[in-house]
């Protein structure tokens, strides 16, 4: 029971990060039917930029409280990622708007590789560690340990998701996004500047990704130029699990995937009699992805493909 509760907590924390990244995949897919494989790298760049800022600030103002330093890192990482995503869409995807769908997909993989290598050149191949700036307060709850950082991650993630939900459902931009997702042609003829809506979608996804990137690196205590790859794939799996293109689906899929992964990692040793260890945890995300693609390709909350026309 201890393990179960502990892994459930860990899974929810990890899952809320997956959910944030998955939102970026699903929003872009909803509007362009493009799987933006560079999104994982945008998350990585967010973490890296924040860590650089944190490093500089720790040298320049050692008296600053740790939380403030991390916050400053996030506040720089967000606009950096927004600018990056704006540029990616404009340079790599917009010229291919009318090309067959395979072309932008391959371009997305290309952008992802370019960003990885750029990050490697700038930040190096080694792991960058997240300095111990945040308070390490832990609570005990029914035998499970919960850290303040974990609580902060979940609370912040839920707040962001609620904010995004309001934005999409209740604002002028959100309506324009939903209209564009249903038909770019008709949305234009109702006066919606579709190019601007698409840019906004990328930018909002990137801002959320930047925060998620800092969360991941703070949670694991390190960042790496390659971290966006696995994180991106898992978030993509989460988006597919929830039903790609569906915002609530991405949230649900992220949380579910985090929990499945954590519980899987926690019990795989017992189940296989010690033959497989918890380092197989990455397997679960893709196992789930395969199951979803085989049995429910539209995802948990997705519409059936036939209804999309």
């Amino acid at each position: 029971m201890d393990i179960f509760l502990q892994q459930l907590v860990n899974g929810l924390v990890l899952g809320s990060i997956y959910a944030l990244v998955a939102l970026g995949y699903t929003m872009v897919y909803g509007i362009l039917e493009l799987i933006n494989f560079a999104h994982g790298e945008v998350t990585m760049i967010g973490a890296m930029v924040a860590l650089s800022v944190i490093g500089v600030l720790m040298g320049a103002a050692p008296d600053l409280p740790g939380v403030m330093v991390v916050l400053a890192g996030i506040l720089v990482a967000i606009p950096a990622c927004m600018a990056l995503a704006f540029g990616i869409e404009k340079i790599a995807y917009r010229p291919l708007r009318k090309a067959p769908r395979l072309a932008p997909l391959i371009t997305a993989i290309g952008v992802s590789i370019i960003l990885q290598n750029l990050a490697m050149l700038i930040w190096g191949r080694q792991y960058v560690s997240f300095p111990p700036l945040l308070p390490t307060i832990r609570f005990e709850f029914l035998g499970a340990h919960i850290s303040l950082l974990q609580i902060a991650i979940v609370v912040l993630a839920v707040t962001i998701m609620a904010g995004l939900w309001l934005l999409v459902e209740k604002s002028r931009l959100g309506r324009a996004m939903r209209a564009t997702a249903q038909s770019k042609e008709v949305a234009q003829l109702m006066g919606v500047n579709v190019d601007r809506v698409i840019s906004a979608t990328f930018i909002i996804g990137a801002a959320i990704a930047a925060i998620a990137g800092v969360m991941v690196s703070a949670y694991y205590g390190l960042a790496h130029y390659y971290m966006g790859f696995m994180l991106g794939l898992k978030a993509f799996s989460a988006a597919v699990l929830g039903g790609i293109g569906n915002i609530a689906g991405a949230m649900l899929g992220g949380l579910l995937l985090g929990v499945i992964e954590a519980l899987g990692a926690g019990y795989i040793g017992d189940i296989t009699g010690g033959f497989l260890g918890s380092h197989y945890q990455d397997v679960f995300a893709f196992f789930v992805l395969i199951l979803v693609l085989v049995f429910r390709p539209s995802g948990l909350l997705g519409e059936r493909v036939a209804n999309r026309a």
Partner: protein
């Protein structure tokens, strides 16, 4: 009367096929102008050229004197030219009200920042959008049906909703692509009344229609397209007796 829309020698080719050949027409402010012609004559193509969905191969489209053929659709809408679609194209996953609210887009300004911070100006604007959309729904006769999904409305109501959505953009010129197609005579008559009401409200109407009786009863002037060319233009009564028009409809030699 002043000229609101002028189409000047517009040609549209798809590869080797000329869908429109040298078409010119003028719509004056305040009139109901009909565009008729057999299937495949190029009526919808002309609509698409005028509203910026297609780029014209040659020629010019002027709205209140200014050339618009190089503008993007959303810019043309902003200048006061809205349209509906032959095959209804509502945002099916949105409520009727939200469909109309989307139409308010070009007349409102809220930014992302305003929406995130939920500042007073943004909330006031949002309330205004909602109120205006309710009014328009009542205006077209959908007052009690604002909450249901657009796709759950009856066929005739969907056509009305398309008109309300287009009206939300505050058009000077409203182009309606076969707005009474598939309606029964009773509904057609109601729609005709709505069009007259719109004209009295100051909106100029450009109407593609197959129902010759409706067109003749409603339109001040009519143009006839056939095989991408304009074969007649003038007051409805005159056009009806034009031998070229009769030939085009009956399929004989002109």
């Amino acid at each position: 009367m002043s000229v609101l829309l002028s189409v000047d020698q517009v040609t549209k080719r798809f590869g080797g096929l000329a869908a429109l050949e040298d078409v010119s027409l003028t719509v004056e402010a305040g009139e109901i102008y009909g565009l008729i012609g057999p299937n495949g004559a190029g009526k919808t193509t002309l609509f698409n050229c005028m509203t910026g969905l297609y780029t014209v191969t040659s020629g010019a489209v002027r709205l209140a004197g200014a050339e618009v053929q190089a503008l993007k659709p959303h810019q043309i809408v902003k200048r006061g030219f809205a349209r509906t679609f032959q095959n209804i194209r509502l945002f099916a996953n949105m409520s009727a009200l939200e469909n109309v609210m989307v139409g308010r887009h070009p007349r409102t300004h809220a930014t992302v920042l305003g929406a995130v911070l939920r500042c007073r100006k943004t909330r006031a604007e949002e309330a205004g959008i909602r109120e205006h959309a309710h009014e328009l729904l009542r205006y077209v006769g959908l007052g009690g049906k604002s909450r249901g999904l657009a796709s759950h409305l009856s066929y005739g109501d969907q056509r009305r909703l398309e008109i309300a959505r287009a009206l939300a953009t505050e058009p000077k010129l409203l182009a309606l692509d076969e707005p009474v197609a598939g309606m029964n005579p009773n509904e057609r008559q109601q729609m005709g009344e709505l069009f007259r009401k719109l004209r009295e409200g100051g909106v100029t109407l450009l109407l593609i229609e197959h129902d010759v009786k409706l067109v003749m009863g409603l339109c001040d002037r009519v143009a006839v397209l056939d095989y991408g060319r304009k074969i007649a233009e003038g007051p409805a009564e005159e056009v009806r007796r034009d031998p070229a028009v009769i030939a085009a409809y009956l399929g004989g030699e002109a």
